[in-house]
C-alpha cells in the first residue's frame, strides 16, 4: 500500500556488482518505503537474483559501485549477519539443508538471535514451541516440520513454506523473496501468498523477485520493476505485470536497447 507519510526503508543508488569478475549489476536505483510491495521481474540472467543476494551480502557477489541505505544506515558497511539483524530478510530460492539439526532448534536460534539484537526477551524451548506453532498455522504447516532436520528431505513447496515461516518469526523491515513462487503447486502458492499478505503491513515492505506473473495474482504489488541486463529498465504499477504476461519481456528489453542506442 502506498500512503502519504510513509518512511524510506531501502534506498539503492547506482548499485553495481560483479560475480567472478563479471559485472552483473550495472547501476540499479530503487527506493522502497514502508507499506509497499515491489515486484522485480525480468528474464533469466537479467540480474534479479544477483540484486537480491548483493543486498543481503552474499560474499560471492562483490559490490563494485553505488550505495545502499537501509533505514538511513549504510547497508554495504554491514556484515551479512548484521544486515539480517538490522531487519533485512532474504527468502532463498534454494534453501540449504542442514542434516541432524532439528528445524525447531534452528528456528529458535535465529529467533532468539534477533530478539537479543532488539533487546527483547528470548524464548525457552517450551515458550518457543507455542509461539512457532501459532505462526505455522498461518502457513498451514504440519507440526512435524519442527522435528525434521532443517530442509532435509523437504519438497520444494515445504522449503518455501519454511522460508516464509522464518519471515513470520523474524518480523523483518524489508523482506526480499527470491523466486519464492518457483516449485510451488497452485495450492501451495495460494497458501504462501496468503502468508506473505498477512505479514505485510504499513511498517514493513516486501520485494518479490519473480520471473512469472502468477504469484502477483495473489500478492498485488504497488510497483513492478523490469530488469534487463543488470538495470531496471521499466517501472510501472500492477498492470505492468499483466502486460508482461501477455507480451513477454522482449518488447521491454528491445525498448531498452533502443534507448541505450540513442544515448550512444
Amino acid at each position: 500500500m502506498i500512503y502519504e507519510d510513509s518512511k524510506i526503508l531501502l534506498e539503492v543508488r547506482g548499485l553495481r556488482a560483479t560475480v567472478d569478475g563479471i559485472e552483473i549489476l550495472k547501476g540499479i536505483d530503487l527506493t522502497v518505503r514502508t507499506g509497499e510491495v515491489h515486484a522485480i521481474m525480468g528474464p533469466n540472467g537479467s540480474g534479479k537474483s544477483t540484486f537480491a543476494k548483493a543486498l543481503a551480502g552474499h560474499p560471492a557477489y562483490r559490490v563494485s559501485g553505488g550505495s545502499v541505505r537501509f533505514e538511513g544506515r549504510d547497508l554495504l558497511a554491514l556484515a551479512p549477519e548484521e544486515r539480517a539483524r538490522a531487519g533485512l530478510f532474504l527468502g532463498f530460492q534454494y534453501p540449504i539443508e542442514i542434516p541432524g539439526v532439528a528445524n525447531s532448534q534452528f528456528l529458535r536460534l535465529t529467533y532468539n538471535t534477533l530478539q537479543a539484537q532488539r533487546g527483547k526477551d528470548e524464548l525457552d524451548p517450551l515458550e518457543f514451541d507455542d509461539f512457532v506453532r501459532e505462526k505455522m498455522k498461518l502457513l498451514e504447516m504440519n507440526p512435524d516440520f519442527l522435528d525434521r532436520s532443517v530442509n532435509e528431505g523437504f519438497s520444494g513447496g515445504e522449503k518455501k513454506r519454511n522460508e516464509i515461516l522464518q519471515m513470520a518469526l523474524l518480523d523483518p523491515r524489508v523482506a526480499i523473496l527470491d523466486e519464492t513462487d518457483s516449485g510451488l503447486d497452485i495450492d501451495a502458492l495460494r497458501v504462501v501468498a496468503n502468508g506473505v499478505n498477512q505479514l505485510a503491513n504499513k511498517d514493513n515492505a516486501v520485494v518479490l523477485v519473480t520471473h512469472y506473473q502468477r504469484m502477483l495474482g495473489y500478492i498485488v504489488p504497488d510497483y513492478v520493476h523490469v530488469m534487463s541486463a543488470g538495470r531496471i529498465v521499466k517501472t510501472g504499477g500492477a498492470e505492468l505485470a499483466l502486460e508482461l504476461e501477455t507480451r513477454g519481456y522482449d518488447w521491454v528489453s528491445a525498448g531498452q536497447r533502443e534507448a541505450s542506442g540513442a544515448l550512444a
Binding site: E81, R85, I98, G100, T110, T113, S149, L170
Partner: protein, 478 residues
C-alpha cells in the same frame, strides 16, 4: 569467506602448557636392559618380564606398517625415553595428598577431577605420565566386587587375572606398535566386572602426556564376566611440544556370555601447530573380543587431536548372537592426518555389527576412514550396517573412505552407505542471513552432522564432546 573459514578452524591448542612436576625419567633408548629396568622399577613378576622380552624380540623382526594413508618422518626409537614417573612416588591416601601442581594442571584443562568425579558420579583413575596418582570411588566399586585400578597394581593384586587375559585379544606379536607396547608398557587401567554385576557408575580415566619426548605406552585391560556390564570413559589432553611424541597404546576388552562393554573416548591431544610442527603420533591398537554368546561391545570415539591418528577399534564377534558397534567422529584440521576406522570380524552365528563413521576435515588435513567387515564361513545369519559420512570445511582438505568387505557366508547381509558434504559459503550465508555468525553456524552444522555418534556417548561426555568440537572450530570471526 575462505579466510573466515581458515580463522575458524585454525585455533591454537588451548591446553598447551607444560606443568612443572619433577619427573623420574629413564635414559633414552630401547634394548633388553631398558625393558628389564622398567620391569624392575615396577617390581614385576618374572612371567611379565618374559612377556615383555618375548614381545620385544618379536618387534625387532617386524616392520612399521606402510599401508595407512599418512606421512611422517621415520621415528627414531632410540631417541625416546621409555619410562617417566612423577615424583613423589609414594602411595597416596586421598586427593589431599595429590601434588597441588598436578591438581592445578587439571584445573587448567577444565577437568577439576575431584569436582568432576563428585558431580558426574565418576570414578576417576587419573593417569599422569604413566603412574596412577589418585583413585577414587574404589571402595564403592569394591563393595560390588568390581576391580578398577592401575594395571601395575593389578599385576600385584590380581596376577592370575592379568596373566590369563593380558595379550589374549591383542597378542604380543599382533602388529608393530602392539608388540612395542607389549614390550615397554608402563601403566594403564585394569577393570574387572564379576559375573552378574552391572557397574553402578561410568568408569573414567584421564590420560595425559606430560614429559617431553617420553613415549606413552598405556595398556588397558577390561574384562566383563557372564552377565556383567560396564561403561568406560577415556578422555585425553596433552601439553604443547615441538617434538613429536609417540603414543602407542593397547586396549583389550573381553566380554563373556551376555556381558556388555561400552567404551567411549574423547581424544584431544596436541595436534601440532598450524604449520604441522609437533603433535602426538597416536598409533593405537584397540580390540574387543565378544567371547560369549549374546555379548556386546560398543566403541564410541571422538577424535579431535594428534598430528597423526592410526586407530581401528575392532570387535571380534566370536559368541553366537554377539553384537559389535563402532561410532566415530574424527575431526582433522591444519596438517593433521587421521587414518581411522574399525574391524568387525563375524565368527559366531547371527552376529551383528553397526559402523557409523563421521569424518570432518578442515585446513590442509587429510581424513581417511578404513574399515573391514569380515564374515567368516560359519557366521550364518551375520549382519552388518555401515555408514561413512565425510564433511569438508574449506578447499584444501581431503577425505577418503576405504571399506574392505569380505563375505564368506551366503546368508550374510552387509550394507554400506557413504556420503560427502561440504561447509561452503552458501551454507554459511544461509545462517548469516538469519542473523547467525559463522562460528555458531559451523558449530551447529558439525553438531548436527555428528548427532548419531554423540547420542551414543554418556550424557556428561556428550556435552564435553560438543564443546570440544566447538573449541576446535571456533575463533575470532572478522
Amino acid at each position: 569467506m575462505s579466510a573466515t573459514l581458515d580463522k575458524l578452524v585454525n585455533q591454537p591448542y588451548k591446553h598447551g602448557f607444560v606443568s612443572d612436576i619433577e619427573s623420574d625419567v629413564a635414559p633414552k633408548g630401547l634394548n633388553e636392559d631398558t625393558i628389564r629396568l622398567i620391569s624392575a622399577k615396577k617390581t614385576e613378576p618374572e612371567w611379565l618380564l618374559e612377556f615383555r622380552l618375548k614381545a620385544y624380540r618379536n618387534w625387532l623382526g617386524m616392520q612399521e606398517p606402510k599401508w595407512p594413508n599418512v606421512k611422517y618422518p621415520k621415528i627414531d626409537f632410540q631417541a625416546i625415553s621409555y619410562y617417566a614417573a612423577p615424583k613423589p612416588r609414594k602411595k597416596l591416601a586421598g586427593m589431599h595428598e595429590v601434588d597441588p601442581e598436578l591438581l592445578r594442571t587439571f584445573e587448567k584443562l577444565g577437568v577439576p577431577m575431584n569436582e568432576r568425579a563428585a558431580l558426574a558420579g565418576v570414578a576417576v583413575d587419573v593417569i599422569f605420565d604413566s603412574v596412577s596418582v589418585a583413585t577414587t570411588y574404589k571402595r564403592k566399586l569394591a563393595d560390588v566386587g568390581i576391580i578398577f585400578c592401575s594395571i601395575s597394581e593389578a599385576v600385584h593384586a590380581h596376577p592370575e587375572l592379568v596373566q590369563r587375559y593380558l595379550g589374549s585379544v591383542v597378542p604380543a606379536g599382533d602388529n608393530y606398535y602392539a608388540a612395542l607396547n607389549s614390550a615397554v608398557f608402563t601403566d594403564g587401567s585394569f577393570c574387572f566386572i564379576p559375573k552378574g554385576v552391572k557397574c553402578p557408575m561410568d568408569l573414567s580415566t584421564y590420560f595425559r602426556i606430560n614429559t617431553e619426548a617420553s613415549g606413552q605406552f598405556e595398556r588397558t585391560l577390561i574384562i566383563a564376566e557372564e552377565g556383567a556390564s560396564v561403561s568406560y570413559l577415556e578422555g585425553c589432553t596433552a601439553p604443547k611440544f615441538d617434538t613429536n611424541q609417540l603414543h602407542a597404546a593397547v586396549v583389550e576388552l573381553i566380554a563373556l556370555d551376555n556381558a556388555d562393554i561400552k567404551y567411549s573416548t574423547v581424544q584431544n591431544w596436541y595436534a601440532g601447530d598450524e604449520n604441522g610442527v609437533g603433535g602426538i603420533y597416536n598409533f593405537v591398537t584397540k580390540r574387543g573380543l565378544c567371547k560369549g554368546v549374546n555379548s556386546r561391545i560398543s566403541w564410541t570415539q571422538v577424535e579431535t587431536g594428534s598430528a597423526i591418528t592410526w586407530k581401528y577399534p575392532s570387535c571380534i564377534l566370536r559368541g553366537d548372537n554377539s553384537v559389535g558397534e563402532f561410532y566415530s567422529v574424527a575431526l582433522t584440521n591444519n596438517h593433521q592426518q587421521a587414518d581411522t576406522g574399525t574391524k568387525m570380524i563375524h565368527i559366531g552365528r547371527n552376529t551383528r555389527s553397526t559402523i557409523v563413521s563421521k569424518g570432518i576435515s578442515a585446513g590442509h588435513s587429510n581424513n581417511s576412514y578404513r574399515g573391514l567387515v569380515r564374515i567368516t564361513p560359519r557366521a550364518d545369519g551375520a549382519r552388518n550396517y555401515s555408514r561413512c559420512d565425510s564433511m569438508l570445511i574449506g578447499e584444501r582438505c581431503g577425505a577418503n573412505t576405504f571399506p574392505y568387505i569380505q563375505v564368506h557366508n551366503k546368508s550374510a547381509q552387509v550394507e554400506h552407505e557413504a556420503s560427502t558434504s561440504k561447509i561452503g559459503e552458501d551454507q554459511l550465508f544461509y545462517f548469516a542471513q538469519r542473523g547467525i555468525g559463522a562460528e555458531e553456524a559451523v558449530s551447529m552444522i558439525i553438531n548436527g552432522f555428528c548427532k548419531d555418534v554423540f547420542q551414543q556417548l554418556p550424557m556428561e561426555f556428550a556435552v564435553e564432546a560438543t564443546k570440544l568440537l566447538g573449541l576446535k572450530l571456533e575463533g575470532s570471526v572478522g
